[in-house]
Subunit: 259 residues, 2 copies
């Protein structure tokens, strides 16, 4: 069983960019990046050292056949279509999606999932070192190869089956997407009163740091937690006729029920 | 107008502890800490250098009359009662509450608000340096004194009136208390499936960091943002009969409406 050395990346978005950077930095060979749009590949390559630039492929039928592993990093809703078009039935292929099962690869010989659990932005490709990578594969040998690759890129690599990964992705929607929505509510509330939203930056960061040291339930503070009806009613008054009243009421009630 | 040099702290909780530490570290004299419970003062003093320990006062009638400023850091629901009992009608007194107006000091000569916008924990009193301090006072002279004190303790000091502070506090409930609640939902969802919640730590931290660089609306990601009905329906299916379905549905709908 030869370890993975030569890698192809299918896709040129945020995940593809962070992965490509990590792959090159850790001494693997990034032989090729595929995207239908050449300008997206060019954008990705800006984050790579000049002496490690991959082949740029825009026709999926022309994919290099010599890679040890093909990592498909495309949007969830494009994943099935892209996979179907891959001329790689006998190659090791993985996807990077949290919410899509491994069985999307049915018909392939060796496949799996290589899911980096993080929110990526193209402008600022973060280091994978502290990003948990969740691995699944259709055979123990393949799983071992992917675990090895994972350990080279990240300090935290775990094996999760498709159902566990779905659960984790659901939890991430609450912890990340929904929290971010609440930040946007806070921004709307402050800027409507000409208050600088950035005053809340340190508080937001500390709230996220706190639960790295203690369970979120133990870290809970605020009017709902202390059943402070007076403040809650005053705040509901401030939110009269606001589109944010409903979510305030619901989460307040849920925190109160937590005891 | 003599600057504030000698300070008394009324209260011995998390805010009192962080403030006491900053006051002492910045060369001010912490002459006294009041709490009805001596053990709470003793706990606070553990965070202070041995040569800077304050007088410990448990009878509010015995408060030292020689401080330049008295900072009342007690729980919101105890604030009115404590202030009424203060034998300090001619002294400069402030409170540290985000949600309580300055008029709670009616009857005093010089008063104001000194509100550090942060979530404090006793175990780990954080530095005030990066904590925004929001100032309000009943006269310009007093405001100037409090702004000066603020600038010694923090890099970010702003003047906010009571109404603005209420708005900011409401926004903080969304950004901090409610986000933390969502972290606790994520913890429940993962641990119920024997998945290590700490896998989400880096994601939570990065989500909080992202909005320090771009507006939350621009940072929004996830199934609701991309109107990915397939994933949303799958996740609602996972949440069938779960107490978390309602908040999932509501916030998903609100993000979709954001466009």
């Amino acid at each position: 069983m030869t370890p993975i050395k030569r890698i192809s990346i299918i896709g040129a978005g945020n995940v593809a960019t962070s992965l490509s950077k990590a792959i090159v930095n850790k001494g693997f060979t990034l032989i090729e990046v595929f995207s239908q749009k050449k300008e997206n590949i060019a954008q990705l390559c800006k984050h790579l050292p000049k002496n490690c630039l991959p082949k740029m492929t825009t026709d999926i039928k022309q994919l290099d056949q010599t890679a040890d592993c093909y990592i498909v990093c495309v949007k969830d809703d494009a994943l099935a279509t892209v996979i179907e078009a891959l001329p790689l039935k006998n190659k090791l292929v993985v996807h990077t999606s949290g919410s899509i099962g491994m069985d999307v690869f049915n018909g392939f010989a060796r496949y799996g999932v290589f899911y980096p659990l993080q929110t990526f932005s193209k402008e600022n490709p973060i280091s994978l070192k502290e990003v948990p990578i969740c691995i699944e594969a259709n055979q123990p040998k393949t799983e071992k190869l992917l675990m090895e690759l994972g350990h080279h890129l990240s300090e935290k690599v775990v094996q999760l089956n498709s159902q566990q990964r779905e659960t984790l992705h659901l939890a991430a929607v609450f912890a990340c997407n929904f929290s971010n929505y609440l930040y946007s509510v806070a921004e709307e509330i402050t800027t409507a009163q000409h208050i600088d939203f950035s005053l809340l930056h340190p508080l937001i960061l500390e709230t996220a740091k706190k639960i790295q040291l203690q369970p979120p339930k133990a870290a809970q503070t605020g009017p709902a937690k202390r059943h402070d009806k007076k403040t809650i009613n005053k705040q509901l008054q401030l939110l009269k006729n606001s589109p944010h009243a409903e979510v305030y009421q619901l989460i307040t009630q849920l925190i109160e029920q937590q005891g």
